[in-house]
Amino acid sequence: MSRVLTIALNEGRALLRNRTAVISAALFLLLSLMAILNAWDQFRYAQGLRQTYQSEANQTFDAQPDRHPHRMVHYGHFVFRPLNPMAAFDPGVDAFTGQMLYLEGHRQNSANFSDTRQNTSLVRFGQLTPAFCLQVLAPLLLIFLGFGVIARERENGTLVLCLTQGVTGPQMFWGKALCLAVVAGLILLPALVSLGWLATQAMLGWGLTLAILTGYVLYLLIWTMGIVLVSRFARRGREALLGLIALWAFFCVFVPRIAPDLIAHARPLLTQMETDIRIHKELKAMGDSHNPDDPYFNAFRQKVLKSYGVSRVEDLPVNYKGLLALEGERMTSALFKAYADRNFGQQHAQTRLMDGVGLLAPVLAVQRVSMSGAGTDLSAYQAFLEQGEAYRFGLVQHLNQLQATALTYADDTNKARENRISHDHWTNYPDFVFRPPAMAERLERLSPALGVLALWCGVLLGLGQWSALRLERLMK
C-alpha cells in the first residue's frame, strides 16, 4: 500500500514540475470559475426578468376592467417559466425551450421566445457552464495530464527498471491511477463548491445533490481509468495521446451529435401545424355548436333541459351560452391533452433511445444525471407546459362558468346590449405557481444513468486490475 502511495506521490511531483500541465490545469480552473460566475450572473438576470414579467402579467390581468367574461377568455393570461437556480450549474435544455406561454380560450399556444431564437449560432458551440467544463473539458484536461503516466515510463525504459526493482504491476498501475484520480478530484472541486451552493439556493435536497455529485465522480473516474489503461497499453506517449484524443472526440463530440440525429430521424415528431389541423378537424367531426341542427349539441341541449326539468333554453336558471362554452372548452381541451400526451410520449420515446445510447457513451449518462437532477431536462419543461395547460383550462372554465351564472341568456343573446360583469370575478383568481417535478420522480429518471456510470466504472476497474497483473510480462 505504501508503495502505491509513493508511486502516486512521485507522479504528482512529476506533474507539478511539468509546466504545461500546471498551466493547463490553472487555465481550466480559471475557466471553471468564469463559468460559475457568468452562469450565476446570467441566471439572476434572467430570473429577475421573468419574475418581473410574471408579476406584471398578474397585475394587468387582475386590473382588467368590468367585461364580458368571454372577452376575458380571449384576453387570456401569460405565464412565464421560472428559472431554477440549478440552471446556473447545468442549463440543460433551457436555452432551447420557450420561456413564455400565452393562455387563452379555444387555443393551445406554444411556449415562445427561447434564447436560441434571439441568438446567433454561437450558442450551438456550447455554453460555458460548470456542467460543460466537467463533461467535455475536464476529460480533455485529464488526458493532457495523464496520457503518459505509464506510456512515458515505458518509452524511457524506467518502467522495466521499476518492475525489476520489486515494484509489482498492480502497485505501479494503481499508484499512477491514484495520482490521476486525485487530480480529477481537484478538478472537480470548484464545480462541486458551486454545486453545493446552488443546490442550497435551489433547495434541491440531499438526495439529488448527492446523485449529481456521484454522477460526476463516477464520470471522471471512468476517464481516469480509461486514460491509465490506454497509457498502459500504448508503447509510446504519443500513441497514448493520439489514441485518447480519438476516444475523447468519439465519445464527447461525435456520439452526442450523431445519436440525436439518427434518433430524430427514426422517430419523427408530428409538426405543430399538422397537430393544429388535426385537432380542428376532429373537433369539427365531434360537433359544431354554431350549427342549430348539429346532432351532438342537440343531444347536449336535450340533456341539459332534462336535468333542469324545463323545455326551452330560455327557461333555464342559467345562461345556456355559458354552458355551451363550458362544453366546447371541455371538448377542445380534451383533444389538446390527447395530442400533448401523444407528443410528449413521442419525445420520451426519443429520449429513452438517447438514454440507451448512454450505455455506450458515458457522457450521455452523466448528462442525464446532471440535467434530470438539476431539473433542467425535457421532463421539467414538459411539466411546465402541462401545468400551464391545466392552469389555462381552469381559468377558462372559471370564466365560462361566470358566463353561465353571472349573465342571463336573454341579456347574452341581445346583440344590442353590452354585457359586462364585475372585474372582482377575476381579480381574485389565484396566480400560476410552477411546481417542478418531485424529487422521487427525478431520482427515478436519473438512477438508470447512474447505474450505467457505475457499470462502466466497475468494468474499467476490473480491467485495470487484470491489466495491472499482466504488467510484469513487459519485462520479458
Partner: protein, 451 residues
Amino acid sequence: MTMLRFEWLLLIRSRLTLAALIVLSVLSIFAVARGLHEVARQNAVIAHLETLQKNDMSDLAKAYGPEGDAGYAAYYSFHHTFDPPSRLAFAALGQRDVLPYNLRVRALGLQAQLYEGDIFNPELALPGRFDLSFVLVYLTPLFLVVLLHDLVSGEAESGRLSLLRAAPKAGIALWLRRAALRSALVFAAVAVPFVAGAVIAQAPVAGVMGGVALIALYVMFWTALCLLTAAFGFGSRINALVLLSQWVILVLVAPTLAHIAISRSVPVPQGVDIVLKHRQLVHGAWEVPKDLTMQRFFHSHPEWKATAPLGKTFEWKWYFAFHHVGDESVAADVATYRGRILQRQALAEGVGYLLPSVGVQAAMERLGDTDIRGYLSYQDQIKTFHTALRRFYYPYIFNKTPFPEPEYAKVPRFEPRSYGGGIGGFYLLTLAALSAGLGGGGVWLMRKRIV
C-alpha cells in the same frame, strides 16, 4: 513530380495516415448523406403540410362559403407559410432544427402569430446537428493534427533528420511537400463529398465554388498552424499537445467566451415585450371608442375612409382594423428587436475574422442560408404575405361584398423567399491572408531553425 510520388508511397505505407484519411472521408460522406436526407425530409414535411392545408381550406370554403361572409373567411382561414431549405443547406443545417420553417398565419394581428414555434425535442437539439460544417469545423482540424504533428519531429525521433539535412538539395521543400500532400488529401476527403452532394442537390455553381474555397482555406489555416508549431522544433508529443490546445481554445473555449461577450454587450430587448404590448393594444381595443381605432386605421389606409360609418353592432371591419392597428403600434419595437438580433449576428461574424472556427461555421450557414439571417428573411416573407392577405380581404370586408365559395380560390398564395445566402469574398480573403501569414511565419522560422 517524382518526389511527390515518393511522398505518396511513404504515405500509403503509413497505416495511421491512411486510416485517418479513410475515417475522415467516411465521416464526410456520411455527413453529406445525412444532410441531403434531412433536406429531403424537410421538403417532404413542407409538401405534406401543403396538402393538408389545401384540404383544410376546401373544407372551410364548403363550411363558410354558403354564408358568404368575408369576415368569417378571413377570421377562420389559416394560410401555410414555409421556408424550403436551400440547395446548399445540406452542408450546414444551421438553425433549421430549432427555428420553425412552417407557420400558419391568418389575417389577424401578425405579431401575435409570428413567434409561434414548431415542436422539437430540446434534448435532441442540445448538441447540435451532425452535418458537413460540423465535420469541417470540429473534426477536420483534429485529423490534420494527427497527420501533421510529427512533420519534422517524426524524422528527428527516428534518427533520419541529420541524414536528410546532409542530403544534397536539403531544405525545407521536403516538409512543405509533405505537408501540402497530406493537407491536400484532407481537403479532398471533405471537399469531394461536398461537391458530390452539391451535384446531387443541384446547387448553384458559384455557391459550390464558394464552399470549396471555404473548405480549402480552413484546411490551409490549420495546416499553417501545424507548420508554425512544427517550426519550433519540439518533440512530437509536445507538438501534439500544443496543437490540441490550440484546437480546444479555437473550437471549444473561445466561441463560448465570445457568446458570453456578445450576449452581454448587446442585450436584446425581450421579444416578450412586443407580444405583451400587442395583446394589450388588441384586447384593449374593445374598451377604446371604436371611431378612434378607425381613425388610426384610416391614417395608414386612407382608401377605406369613405366607407359606411360603424353601426352599433359588431362589424368585421372594425375587428380587422384594430388588429392591424395593434401591429402598427408595435412596429418600432419589432424593428429594434430585429435590429438587435442582427447586431448580435454581425458581431458573431466579426468574431469569425479572429476565430476561423466561428467564422467558417457562420460562413457555411450563410452559404446554406440556414442561419438567423435566413430565418429573419423568412419572417419578412411572412410579413409581405400577411400584408397581401389583409389587402385581399379588405375590399370584401369594407364594401361588404359577398364571399361565396369560388372566392376562396382567389386568396393569395404564399411564395417562398428566394435564396438569400452566399459567401463573403472579403471573408475568404481575410482567411487566406491569415493562413498565409501563419504559414509564412512557419516557413521562415523553419528555414531559420531546422535547415
